[in-house]
């Protein structure tokens, strides 16, 4: 794994933590967009082929979905503040437990040239899912799943010889897109 890719992936993980602390849905959407940019940068640094897929991933995860999310947020019925479902202590304990589990599991798993990206990506996926479970805002699932999608991009970048069809499946934010479309239609 190159130094640039490692730095981008580590920053993306730091943004996952920032996302968990975000209080306003607009701020969280911007954090998700920056995280998508960092994930795409890590993919480019990992020399993902074809290089255009990293650009497409950023266009979808970093521009299209956050913009659509912001449009839904600006509707009058939608609260701009994200409430926490459970207490802060339990929440941070869950973060700590997840991080420990990921590191412990991956030190057992197969070492590969890009295993750092694999560990960082998997951590981002799980922290995104934690956001889905911990926040009670109707759009929190979209944010959490979008962040998880960014983590999956890093995992895919670290997976050797991934076929083009699989790369295309990973760069499409199908699940967060579906949840957002549902939230849009229900409003």
């Amino acid at each position: 794994m190159t130094g640039a890719a490692a730095l981008a992936a580590a920053l993306a993980l730091a943004l996952s933590i920032a996302l968990l602390c975000a209080r306003r849905i607009g701020t969280a959407a911007i954090i998700c967009a920056i995280q998508a940019l960092l994930s795409a940068a890590a993919l480019a640094a990992l020399r993902w082929q074809p290089a255009a897929t990293a650009l497409v991933a950023f266009a979808l995860n970093g521009i299209a979905l956050p913009l659509a999310l912001l449009r839904v947020v600006h509707r009058p019925a939608m609260s701009p503040v994200i409430a926490t479902r459970n207490g802060a202590v339990g929440f941070w304990l869950a973060v700590l437990m997840l991080s420990t589990l990921v590191v412990a599991a991956f030190t057992q798993a197969r070492p590969s040239p890009a295993s750092d990206s694999l560990v960082l990506g998997s951590s981002i996926v799980l922290l995104g899912l934690l956001l889905v479970a911990q926040r009670s805002h109707p759009l929190a699932p979209v944010l959490g799943l979008l962040s998880s999608q960014n983590g999956l991009l890093l995992v895919a970048g670290a997976t050797p010889d991934l076929p083009l069809s699989a790369r295309l499946v990973v760069i499409l934010p199908l699940v967060p897109g579906l949840i957002l479309a549902n939230a849009w239609l229900r409003q």
């Binding site: 197969r110 996926v125 199908l174």
Partner: protein
């Protein structure tokens, strides 16, 4: 030379969905839906003569063919059942023309996606097919005009979406686990390809939790009772009785790939299965609504099937795979009784359906011989609770209660598909023909 039959079987529901999305009349939509489902069953009936046919990206094995037959049969009976239910819902204004069109198109797309997920040999294609199935299932569930149905559809999308993302992470990790790295990971070669064991176990844990969510396995099971109870009645049959089978096949394939070192993933499977069985049984005790009762009974059964897959080996897999087939038929029969006129014939049919659901947990007795000692108590408690709760809810039509005798031609036509399904359950439980036994043995030996 490519065999065209499996491709036609998958393409037909998708083509019908496209046509149904364009057809404005709900009356024509009903007939296209029923005609397409009947044609699909006829084509699927030819599939056993095309086992292991060479088709790129597809694998036509014994369990896959069995699930295609089961899916197309229940889809056919449900499409004929919705001939009665769609006009009734339009009359009560719980459906309108636009929603009826959405239901018909989503229903066919859902069946097509289930068939693609079952027959696909490529892990990514299976994932993509199940993602399409989830989207279509949300459309089918939310087709009816009610807040509860919309909430059920949102729950389904959210919980199954989380499951899909976890499964995608597991699929990527499975690529990493292969030694040497292969361009594609196939279900048909998963057992024979060497893997790095700790990496394989890690990937399998994610895959089991992810696809488990789509099968209604705890802890991401919450969508299943809501979708079955609040969604549009015919749609909830396809979602509750059929959609869960494709991820269960994935669990079976993964368990086979783990032999001879099942390790942590097998333990995870058994633990998740037990939790699902006990949770389903406890919820069943508190349930009063018939559709929710059928959903919780199904959930408990799914838990038992997952325990059987986790135990592994031909006998346990047989004891899990057969109830899975029977469960789909029995649950569809109970749900198709919903909304029938209150005649004696209909009441007896409903009673027979619930009785069929109540006897299914007894298949767990075959598991007890193979199960570890620590499994015996929770498995036995779960089975007893499920069966007794269902038997306690058995609606026996007493002669003292004045109900119309029924039996006119239209009622018999409405009940005939249910009787067909219940007759199949009876045949498979009491007098399974030799070739069918061989067929199930071939599946269990995988």
């Amino acid at each position: 030379m490519i065999d065209p039959l499996p491709v036609v079987v998958i393409a037909l529901p998708f083509a019908s969905a496209a046509v149904l999305a364009l057809v404005g009349s709900w009356r024509i939509g009903i007939w296209i839906n029923a005609g397409s489902a009947t044609l699909l069953l006829l084509l699927a009936a030819l599939l056993p003569w095309h086992l292991h046919a060479p088709v790129p990206l597809l694998h036509i094995g014994a369990p896959e063919t069995q699930l295609v037959l089961l899916t197309s049969l229940v889809a056919m009976t449900t499409s004929w059942f919705s001939r009665r239910d769609v006009p009734a819902s339009l009359a009560t204004r719980s459906l309108d023309r636009r929603r009826a069109r959405l239901y018909h198109a989503a229903c066919q797309a859902l069946v097509g996606a289930i068939l693609l997920a079952v027959l696909s040999d490529n892990l990514m294609l299976t994932w993509l097919a199940l993602a399409i199935a989830i989207a279509a299932a949300a459309g089918v569930t939310g087709a009816v005009r009610s807040q509860a149905a919309a909430t059920a559809a949102s729950n389904l999308l959210l919980l199954c979406g989380v499951g899909l993302l976890i499964a995608l992470l597991g699929t990527l990790l499975l690529h990493v686990a292969q030694e040497p790295h292969a361009a594609t990971v196939r279900w048909s070669t998963l057992q024979s390809v060497p893997h790095h064991l700790p990496a394989l176990h890690l990937a399998c844990v994610f895959l089991l939790i992810g696809y488990g969510a789509l099968a209604g396995v705890a802890p991401l099971h919450g969508w299943l009772p809501d979708a079955a109870a609040e969604g549009f009645a015919p749609g909830s049959i396809i979602v509750g009785a059929l959609m869960v089978n494709a991820p269960l096949l994935v669990l079976l394939r993964l368990r086979a790939a783990l032999n001879p070192n099942p390790g942590l993933p097998a333990a995870v499977l058994m633990a998740l299965g037990l939790i699902t069985l006990l949770l389903g049984a406890c919820c069943l005790l508190a349930s009063t609504d018939m559709r929710r009762t059928a959903a919780f009974a199904g959930m408990a059964q799914i838990g038992m099937i997952v325990v059987a897959i986790g135990i592994g080996g031909p006998a346990a897999t047989f004891a899990g795979w057969l109830p899975m087939t029977l469960l789909a038929l029995a649950r569809a029969s109970v749900l198709q009784c919903h909304g029938l006129p209150p005649t004696q014939l209909a009441a007896w049919t409903r009673t027979a359906g619930i009785l069929a659901l109540a006897i299914l947990p007894l298949f767990a007795l075959f598991l007890l011989a193979k199960a570890a000692v620590w499994l015996l108590l929770p498995l036995g408690v779960g089975v007893l609770l499920t069966s007794s709760a269902l038997l306690a809810r058995l609606p026996i039509p007493l002669p003292s209660v004045p109900v119309p005798r029924g039996g006119d031609l239209s009622e018999i036509a409405a009940l005939a598909p249910i009787w067909l399904q219940l007759a199949l359950v009876l045949l498979l439980v009491l007098a399974m023909p030799g070739p069918v036994v061989d067929w199930f043995n071939a599946t269990a030996a995988r």
